[in-house]
Symmetry: C2
Amino acid sequence: MDKIFRVNMTDLTCKVEEVPAEFATLGGRALTSTIVAAEVPPSCHALGPNNKLVFAPGQLSGTPAANSGRMSAGAKSPLTGTIKESNSGGTTAQQFAKMGIKAMIIEGLPKEDKWYRLHVTMDGVTFEDASELVGKQNFDVIEAMNEKFDKKIGVMTIGIPGENRLASANISVKDPDQKIRSHGRGGLGAVMGSKKIKAITVDATGAGKVAIADPEKFRAAAKVFAKGMLDHPVTGEGLPTYGTNVLINILNEAGGLPTKNFKYGTCEHHDKVSGETMHDTIAGRPNGHTKHGCHAGCIIQCSQVYTDDKGEYITSGFEYETVWGLGINCLIEDLDDCARIDNAMDNIGIDSIEGAVLLAVAMEAGVLPWGDGKEALRIMNEEIGKCTPLGRILGNGTGSVGKAFGLTRVPVVKNQGIPAYDPRSVKGIGITYATTTQGADHTAGYTIATNILKVGGFVDPLSKEGQVELSRNLQIATTAVDSTGMCIFVAFPALDIPEVLPALVDMLAARFGVEMSVDDFVALGTRILKMEKEWNTKAGFTNEDDRLPEFFELEPIPPHNAVWDFTPEEIDELWNF
Amino acid sequence: MDKIFRVNMTDLTCKVEEVPAEFATLGGRALTSTIVAAEVPPSCHALGPNNKLVFAPGQLSGTPAANSGRMSAGAKSPLTGTIKESNSGGTTAQQFAKMGIKAMIIEGLPKEDKWYRLHVTMDGVTFEDASELVGKQNFDVIEAMNEKFDKKIGVMTIGIPGENRLASANISVKDPDQKIRSHGRGGLGAVMGSKKIKAITVDATGAGKVAIADPEKFRAAAKVFAKGMLDHPVTGEGLPTYGTNVLINILNEAGGLPTKNFKYGTCEHHDKVSGETMHDTIAGRPNGHTKHGCHAGCIIQCSQVYTDDKGEYITSGFEYETVWGLGINCLIEDLDDCARIDNAMDNIGIDSIEGAVLLAVAMEAGVLPWGDGKEALRIMNEEIGKCTPLGRILGNGTGSVGKAFGLTRVPVVKNQGIPAYDPRSVKGIGITYATTTQGADHTAGYTIATNILKVGGFVDPLSKEGQVELSRNLQIATTAVDSTGMCIFVAFPALDIPEVLPALVDMLAARFGVEMSVDDFVALGTRILKMEKEWNTKAGFTNEDDRLPEFFELEPIPPHNAVWDFTPEEIDELWNF
């Protein structure tokens, strides 16, 4: 029988609660957002006693469904002030699901100035002294926990920036390979830090299988679904071969590859850090792996193990957005440097998108020279990692850097850094950045699929036409997908191969033993998205917050010399449904 | 004939424009807010090309009316994001008025990375190279200008924090005594810095008298008005004797003196920094003056010249809010230390309220020990004054410090520091902080008059009853007073002595040769206040921004153990008129 763990940090108790009937078929983002919307006062301080940190595995996590192993974390974001859902691979989603933990809700702040490790078992949560872990970065925490328990222990941890409640701090999750995946965006690591939780360990001893109401229907649907994933050129070929970094050359070709803090839309040295170059680099080195999964059951394998020329591990989970941010937007041409910075961000525990975007703004401010990868690495480890004054400015995110240095070219929406796709020359993604409930976030409505990759049809990236509808439909669908525990890439086959989305819905129906149609799936996405929007409105957000920074309107970006030219009324049409 | 100087920093031109008929009787805040509301897009970046910096002397500035020498500066605030009016004494209001400059509107940003001094004469504005002034703090700029011209030259200047566009940077104005007055609140110095204007010099050669349409009526009214000021116990006795710092003991007695970053409502050592102690200290030292005016024609003389025991100048314009912030809220018990820090803030050019409030938050963060005046002085000069990374965190204001260190006890509304009166135990001022168009600002609707000083009646500070109406009426009246060029203290006699407000209105009518009633005066205040509110709404502010920080609701303050207990609906009633 599934249950909810309600952890109170003020009186250090854990209540094991029954799952309310209305939560029975929910999971992932649908569940974290429902709980946050119901229980967190929109006006509360994100680091204060009234915020709550909620973890929920996806609806299909722990089942044999391919790519379903993602965990959602939700809270009020200290970075954006909005509701936040950030999901991650790793091992804890599947552990929670198999342990029957529908959600873990962490509330309150400790009375004493003391750090804790939450230890999660089938029976509940205990509060362990974490004084020996405090002051350690993530890889050391994971190593210490592996030694204390064994390699099967699930670990979620924050680095020193998280302890110091910096708004780019993420929650890092151990993956099946003892490396790190992240609840990256929105500073949820700072929320964990505010509650004085250094780490969460998960001992899944005694866990069973996830109950599936109609196993036969499930198996049939799972097969169709997996076949669709393998058949689609993006998930079956592009991502497995080159990783997400396949996009560098594609975006450069489209003139939508933001370069030198969003000054240009193409980059001369793009091929030095492209997916193709990365593939060949990894393949040519000892111990390098061009394929790697962020969780058990992943059949895309878009991650990698990136080693140096002696075969020493440098990083994994080295995503397009990070490579873009460092290699293109900061002009760091050496891919090894970029990989080392990526690893440093994993280790200190900051969002690698925010970290890369803020570095370019710091370069514009003159904090470090353009393209200086060695200094960028030092800044990560010695400034942000140690929370010096400069490190605090940077570690609080792109908006913080812009304010500290009085700059106007600061790519943020709702104070969250804008990632790897220029909104002037790929206009659909600009609508997503502006309007999503999450602050600038490409994954919230990934129009790149249709604007650039011609998945799900084609909407001209340079024209305003059709972008609002495209973004809206993708935001709704994404909200539903983020609830399943699936990685967002399932959208590619779902958009192009007719049987994939029905198969996903059939898995959900079979898992919970309910009737469910594609319309019901879309309706859930719609309902949750509107719930998030309503919560944000109560927190004080208005249409005026659904805007891109002024400089996108004022500065044309080469080569298309495109500007951001949507009127406020056109943008606001997104929420008219 | 009055005119408007329109200064364009992009093409380095000054247009001399006729005054539109609808501006004829406006001045001060009414005029700056009207121009900002009409010309500045609410969504623009405060440091970008679309913000404008507007100066306008008061309606009565330059006339013989007592206490009328204040200049308003207006813009979109980089600190609060709201519309902002900040007024200051000094010499430039009277110079502008006598030169017939109704307003100076500064727009655009320079194309080149070059600093300017605007030189204002009767003929217009010229653009002078300011490379020799850049990197100097304010007193050195004033000295350099006095040497270049003579002591009659009007000077408005920014220090290094203003050059670096820090959001607590003020615009400093030379006063008749060659000391400094400030357009303090809201970071207008950063706007001036964004436009690369290091200083504005005003050569009033050729200026005449301000035209008065009905001189006889004016003289008669001015006499009644001045008598009222001298007759009232606050403006005629309390302020002239002890300065604004008379309030330390009064607020301590009322339990509304925020102590140790708003932890307590009384302070054991209050008398060490009280107005009475300050009076005796100044009076007992060589060259000390207990009376001093911020502009020619002031008959209150609430300023002072504060010297050390050898008679060397330390500071002047040493206001209650600054003494409170340093001496009580930061626990710096040595009044000389406080005076030196006040002088440092004048010199580097940051708002001395914001500077004092943020220091207490920095002490809470552990940046420096509680009560350490020497270290606070060093931080002002060496960190904020030199814009080090720590200095940027601090110099960007109280909210910035709170975010950098991940704190929840951060006293701001709309990101502006809450001054010297605790909103839990003096509830009327809490309504003003929450609702004013300007971000937390006691002067915007100074309910202390009626809550504490029993001026204009009495409204119990500990009860919610009557506070919203009190704050609303005062906010309306203040908007009108801020337009006259009068200092806000004229409100004390105006509230208690029946003939004072009609006399003020008669002066306005006689100045402009129009019919004007007290109702018309109030109507102007109402119209401008609503205009500001409407602009803020277009900038994205909602009722949810009209809230005090959560900790005022959660933490009772001794000795009354009062909490902030207004409901959102009760607060929002303020704007129902």
